[in-house]
Assembly symmetry: C2
Homo-oligomer: 126 residues x 2
Amino acid sequence: MYTISEISRLTETTAHTIRYYEKEGLLFPTRTTSGVRRYDETQLTWLRFVLRLRATHMPIDQIREYVKLFLASSETHDTSLERLRLLEAHQENVRRQLAELVRTEQMITEKIAVYQQLHPAVKETF
Amino acid sequence: MYTISEISRLTETTAHTIRYYEKEGLLFPTRTTSGVRRYDETQLTWLRFVLRLRATHMPIDQIREYVKLFLASSETHDTSLERLRLLEAHQENVRRQLAELVRTEQMITEKIAVYQQLHPAVKETF
DNA sequence: CTACAAGTTAGAGTGAACTCTAAGTCAAGC
DNA sequence: GCTTGACTTAGAGTTCACTCTAACTTGTAG
């Protein structure tokens, strides 16, 4: 079981942010009798997953939605299909971002090539 | 020469945002005698470049820095090397984002595969 | 000439995601 | 027992990038 500072160090995320995520309904650490947060491996793995989703610009609202579906799932009401849909939607998003980045990377590379030649005849357009 | 609404349509950007970019020192349209903005092809091309940089999360501050260097460049003081450095820095950034996205895309694809199997033996961990 | 669409401005407001503050509690080592 | 440092909270503040408002002026079609 980890304290917040250990989790903070392990994920390179400030304790502030980790508490913020909890307040936003993304994390559920257990507490000691005196109210101190304790995180197990499952929570650590989950936080790492969340950070990955955040790094690829999935809004906190949507991540919370995913968590709520997970917690709401039961024998009588299976939410796995809805969670699958959420993941697929984000996958689509990630792929769009990828396409955008690839195009921009090419554009920058071309521009850099122009600068590197520094051929006086090359007309700079910003 | 285009009006702001034409530029807005051509770049799928609101006129509000285009004016905002001008206030932030990214755009320099000419003006009619009565003060109405007019954009030429160069400005259109440049705006498209800016939007590309923004779509890949280059901060407005850095884009402005690039513009300032461009405008400051002269026979006596060539800023092309500094501009090259800025572009290289952003290229590095774009590549980091790319790596992040590729990793996350793989992770989501794996997770989706798990959901799609819906094998009861598969232990879900969020 | 008039209507009205489209332009202008300064500056206020918004939303997302943190980020920090202040005031306090608690656990461990000396 | 005392100090130190890590933890707790509610809530305020910050940053970024827009986004909008209100009051006004200008361009154009009928």
